[in-house]
Amino acid sequence: MDVMPKWAEVVLVPLISLLLAAILSGLVILAIGEDPIAALKLMIDGALGSTYGWGYTLYYATNFMFTGLAVSVAFHARLFNIGGEGQAMLGGLGVALACLFIPWPHWSLGLLGAIVLAGAFGAVWAAVPAYLQAKRGSHIVITTIMFNFIAAAVLNYMLVNVLRPKGAMDPATARFPEAVHLPSLHDILAPIGISFSKAAPANVSLLVAIIACVLVWLLIWRTKLGYEIRAYGHSESAAKYAGISPVKITMIAMIISGALAGMMAINNVMGEAERLVLNATEGAGFIGIAVALMGRSHPLGVFIAAILFGFLYQGGAELALWTSIPRELIVVIQALVILFTGALDNMVRMPLERIFLALRKEGN
């Protein structure tokens, strides 16, 4: 029998972990001589206090949804895709090529085309380590990490030597044509009478990310392929017995994972920057790992965790802007959240399980 009721498992454990991370972060802030309560207020104000703040929070969250889903899908097959960063970079290349070289008549078609190309580029970038794992036994953690570096180098080369417009000084592509500029949340919400900040980068990609959450949920829990992916993840020996091919599942899970990571580029490259710049991903591929961990690889959990990390990103930026708390401290706070929700999960879980057991015994 399960020791804890499901709600405690999915809600209470992460919540307590989060609280512990917050308390410890508060102590750190206190230690450098700042007021933690004021800092928290500033973060909340900055990230959630205005539609401008929300616009940034949701923009970051969109990135993390894509990369979080990517890590989750692979993790259901017990594959650690650490390469979300590189796959998202390649996705950016796909988006740039789609936007620069195909004359789209309308942004919606452009978006579809960009999704396909971004997904394809990300998928290819994940497929190589997947193939090496499936056929040669090279550990996917190592190869995906290495592929992040290769991706960065490829992007560097492409931006400096191939895609940089003549005469431009910075390693970036030309701006995308007007036709493929994605509508921001301001543009989407204005017709229905909601005024949303015009300056914030959140855009229609958020909706794509939410649709992706739903599709991933359907894939994992409602389709035969998802059933096979989870079965393989739980027990490779049982999967073999059932006739599920480990090679096939490894390849497919990683291709889907890579495609999801690649699709992040429609948000940051197409939706925000509207051109491809160096280091466009800003570590979102790695945050995806934390998001998936915290979200227990469930799309709903990923959705919520992505918004939390979006809040931390945006709130942290505000903190750095308005106080003498250094930007590095934001990284510390994020690290604490990851540490408590991911790595120290059992520290909270064990005592909770004991409490629930004791409660149940009394109930009997």
């Binding site: 409602r222 739980h234 073999k240 017995y241 059932a242 015994k361």
Partner: protein, 510 residues
Amino acid sequence: MTIDTTAPAIELKGISKAFGPVQANKDISIRVMPGTIHGIIGENGAGKSTLMSILYGFYKADKGDIFIGGQKTEIPDSQAAIASGIGMVFQHFKLVENFTVLENIILGAEDGRLLKPSLAKARKSLLELAAEYELNVDPDALIGEIGVGMQQRVEILKALYRQADILILDEPTGVLTPSEADQLFRILGRLREEGKTIILITHKLREIMEATDTVSVMRRGEMTATVKTADTSPEELAELMVGRKVLLHVDKNSPTLGDVVLDVQNLRVVDEQGVERLKSISLNVRAGEILGIAGVAGNGQSELLEVLGGYADGTGSVTLNNEAIDLTGKYSNGKTRRARGIAHVPEDRQREGLIMDYSAWENTAFGYHDDPAYQSGIFINNTAIRQDTEEKMARFDVRPPNPHLSAKNFSGGNQQKIVLAREIERNPDLLLIGQPTRGVDIGAIEFIHQQIVALRDQGKAILLVSVELEEILSLSDRVAVMFDGRIMGERAVGETNEKELGLMMAGVET
């Protein structure tokens, strides 16, 4: 240590131990007299291993006291157990394969920082022990190169070297041939004569009857009875273990044989290390027949099931109903085998037959999840699978009949019933079944055996692999014995006996 012969060697008083909501041991009291062999028998999960782990210091009892030689003793860890003269021989040996016998014996009991004096001392006492208890082993042989029977002797010697007066043996015959088991019981008898006390944990009634002086029966964490072995019978013990009368023998009619369903010719399997696991095996199974494959674990039976089940590659020729089956390549996998009418209840249901974290209904679809009845459009039809599962659970009396419960939350017997229901209800032409009752409670064994026989009576072919010779003899119509990747011989069940089969299992040509 002086032993007061009138006091019990071990006395446990009111031992209780709970793991979360599970009460593994409930107020257990037991007295083991010195110089006796005391059997502890019970089904899986009855609490035998927990009780012994408490005695050996692996777990701390929630309540209760331990008396050794009449003195109250605390056993916080295995060091303390050893110091109190308790030695344990585990079911899975704790030996270092590439160390010699001698090195294994001193492992953890070295006298100083230098190895040489310890080894010399151990060699001397090993020779003494060998002479005293007729426990001959070559001190310089590598563990990996001696047989399991010998390895077990090393385990016993390890305990004796640490001056154990009380030996606990946990399911010691699981890996032994019948003749090796007999040898073990002779050694145990010899140890008893020398005044050692032996606790024998087993689920095999026959061993209890053969080897012990006293027997304690456990059921669901409680000690239900302690009786003199001479005053009891296997039937009575079985009833005490299960809590109701059980049929120890399978009732079956003589077989009505049909055509050859499975025909295997010159089947070879070479594993990844290049070791030949199956050495040109030929056999056949007819419709309406159970062919039992006897043998000590690890002699190629698993590989036979794997290659027939489609998840290991082999060479040779295998036909089902006179049509060839691919043994390698794209079309050799569990799915294609099932499509051809081969069902497979694997030897290890926890690693292969089930996904322990999947619910019962997800497991019921496992391997058959391509079935059109389980689909609706591009999605899996969960409702249809659940309904099917509920029906199967009812027909196979799976308890609790809750399709949403994870496989890991069912008992061994009920897990096996879930697998069996899935495979048998598909109406296969051939059923491959490995260790059908391993880790299954006696009550469920009866049911599982009946299902296997019923399938045979429907005219299906059944290939049964089991390391329990008794099970092979009571279920099969024909027996083939495997040794070292070969078939040593085949016998009709009526024309052979345990002794002959036991010799064949040990590799003796008969």
